[in-house]
Each structure stands twice: as C-alpha cells, then as structure tokens.
Symmetry: C2
Subunit: 232 residues, 2 copies
C-alpha cells in the first residue's frame, strides 16, 4: 500500500483523519514510524516530523520503545492572545484614548512584596490609568512596576502612551502568570468605568517576570459586559 507524493503535512493530516474517523480509536497504538514510512513511501524522518507535530498538539502520546498511542483524554488547550489594549480597541474600529490618572513612587506594600517577590525596601512605581474606546470607558488599569528591574521607567513620560506598551518595548520576552475573575464594582471603579456600584466586572491580574526577576503586577478591570474571546 505504498502511496506517492507524501509531504509531512499530508501524512500529519492523513493520520489525524484516521484518528478522527476512529480507524485508530482513542488509546490504540499506531504503526511504527518505519511501517508508516513504508506505507507512505517516504523516509522515516518525514513520518517523525508528522507524528511529532501531532504529539505537540496533544493528539498522540509518544514514548520510546512503547510507540505512538492515540491520546484518550487529550488535554484541550486554548490559546488567547495577550492583546495590548490599544490594539483590541482599534480592532473594534473604535477610537483609542489613554489617560494617566495617577503616578507615585512608593515602597512596595507587604501584599505586593508577597505577591511578586521583591525585597522589603523595594521601590515601586504605582500607576493608575484609564483606557477609552470612542470616549467610553474601556479599561481601568492599576499597575505596580519594580523600579529595580527597569530603572529607566522613572524618566519615561507615561502621559501619552500607556505603561504596557513601553514595558513591552523594554522587556519583550517575559513570563507571566495570569488570573481572571469577576468582581463587583467598588466606589473607585464605579466612577472611572461609569457603572453603578456593585456592577459585575471582568478583572484580569497579571504578574510578569523577566529572567527570573519580577517586573510588574497589573490589575485590569474592564467595562461592564466585556467578553474575552478565544478559539481552538
């Protein structure tokens, strides 16, 4: 059953189709790379690449000596893009406006030290910002920046562009931890976002590290009715 014209993509797709059609049901063992290479009339390396991509996707599990098995309980994972506020506003075809509400330098309070792991006397820049879409409140941003990690932040003018965009240009490759939750609007949020007190709001918190040192912690609260979208 040797076929012709088999790129690694063809093989990947063919194997995927056979899995979806239950020709190889969940939990079952696939033929070996050598056998598949024979069937598809190609080198083993080509089959290897095809199966490796399926393994990366979580569709199959591969183990030396055991072989390749259809994942019975594939870990579904969704990717969502960490959008810069400006971008997501502009993608809605709305006019973006940014405003710096407050800017102070403080010693990191205990809860912040515990959360991001900085030293006792660490100085942080505390910012409050508002983001608008067509002049309607879009997001209230409260942010703390570890000055030791990005000393330049002290001298940057943040009245025109948001701190997120500046930080991205400074620390483009970072890790982060992210939590989303629903909260009730308190006094401050109800004023800035123009909603009744107690209104349900979508809130995201993010802590960012660069090469192991904490850079920033940000709490973003969105306007009422905001939806975060993603697909997989």
């Amino acid at each position: 059953m040797t076929q012709k014209k088999s790129s690694f993509q063809d093989i990947r797709d063919t194997v995927m189709a056979r899995i979806q059609s239950r020709h190889w049901p969940p939990g079952s063992l696939l033929p070996t790379e050598v056998e598949l290479a024979e069937e598809f009339g190609c080198a083993r390396a080509t089959v290897n690449r095809a199966l490796r991509e399926l393994a990366d996707q979580g569709v199959v599990d591969r183990k030396r000596k055991s072989g390749t098995r259809v994942n019975a309980a594939p870990v579904k994972q969704a990717v969502f893009e960490i959008a810069v506020v400006r971008q997501s506003v502009e993608e809605m075809n709305a006019a973006y406006r940014y405003s710096l509400v407050k800017r102070t330098v403080i010693t990191a309070p205990a809860w912040l030290r515990a959360r991001i792991g900085v030293k006792d006397e660490a100085q942080v820049l505390h910012l409050n910002c508002m983001h608008y879409a067509d002049n309607r409140p879009f997001q209230f941003e409260e942010r703390w920046i570890n000055i030791a990690a990005v000393p330049d932040v002290i001298d940057v003018d943040l009245s025109e562009t948001g701190p997120n965009e500046w930080l991205l240009s400074q620390v483009p490759f970072s890790n982060a931890e992210l939590t989303s939750t629903a909260i009730a609007a308190g006094e401050t949020l109800s004023e800035f976002l123009d909603v009744p007190q107690g209104a349900p709001l979508f809130q995201m918190e993010r802590t960012t590290w660069f090469q192991g040192t904490p850079v920033t912690f940000v709490r973003m609260t969105f306007h009422q009715g905001y939806q975060m979208r993603t697909r997989y």
Copy 2:
C-alpha cells in the same frame, strides 16, 4: 568560532539568550542557517529545527530569501487548559459531586440556531447540571446538545457522569469558540450557587464543532470568587 556538542536545544537556547540580551535586538537580522551551522559546528538541518521552534514560539519571523528576523512586536499568547470540571475540583483536593438537574428534548430556539448554526427544526437536548466541590456549589452548567451530531446522546444515562465527560469520549477532537465574561447572579443562579442575587459571577460560554457540524453549546457559571489561572 566553531563550538562543539551542539544539540538543536542548545542552539535554540543560545539564540534565545542572545535575543534576550539584545545581542540581536528586536527587528535585527540573524545570521543565515549556513553561517550558524558553521559557528555551532553542526548540520544546517539542526539549526533549522532550532530556528523553526523559535519561529513557532513567535520569537522570530522567517521568510525565504529575506532571512530570520527578531520579532519586534511578538504576539504574546497565553495557553490555558480547558479543564474538565471533575479534574479541576480534584486538583484542589476536594471531593467532586455531580448532579443532573433537568433534562428535556426541545426544538432549537431561534437564538440557539443563530448562535451555533443548526437547521430550523433541529432537535436539541437541553440539560441543567450542578457540580460541587466538597458539597459546596462549584459550577452551574446549562447545555444544549445537537442531537443530529451525536444521536447516541439520547440513550445515555447522564445522571451519574456529566455530559462533558461523555461528549469528550465521543468527540475527542473538536474545535471550539470560547468567551468569558462577568455577570450578575439572577434568581436561578443565586439559588443554585448559593449567592445573593446580583453577586458578580465568572461565566464561560463554549460552542463546539466537530468536522464542521455544531455539537454543543454550553454556559458555565462558577461560584463566587472563582479565578481562572494561566501562565506563559
């Protein structure tokens, strides 16, 4: 400057380190695969794999003839696992309990037809379920299943295991669209989740397709204070 002992992972990490250290700043052009292969004393295919992984991560952009460039505005993307409720409860070391609240077969209402794209007379199975962690409300689930897509669902006993687990075993490889938002508890939710009316709740909606045909739409509302976590 030829080195020794260079696996594709070493190369990937070394290149990444040079990018992070701004040896190759954002927007700049990397050496060609041939040049890097020479430097690292390995075959071009090895360099290719290393750079391909960085391209998959979004760290660099690659174009034929143009070469490999450090991505100036890397698209940050976070991956979160679509957890099965049972799993996330058990990971908290809490006892999981499930209960089927309501089960009816209906003709798809207009809003559902519009949302998932089924025919006018489509029959759907409408379910209400509750998930508990240590006997405290964890999630209220309201689900609609397109019977035409999974006819067997009619005869399945859903009083013991949740519909999600059964569907996963039937349709393990599907696409989905997912939205998260914050809502205020209405009468039903306040009763089932044991919160005051108006309490802010985290809600997720998911539409699932299998090979182009809509399978299910589910609205999951979590207990007050629930946080969705993810890292990247």
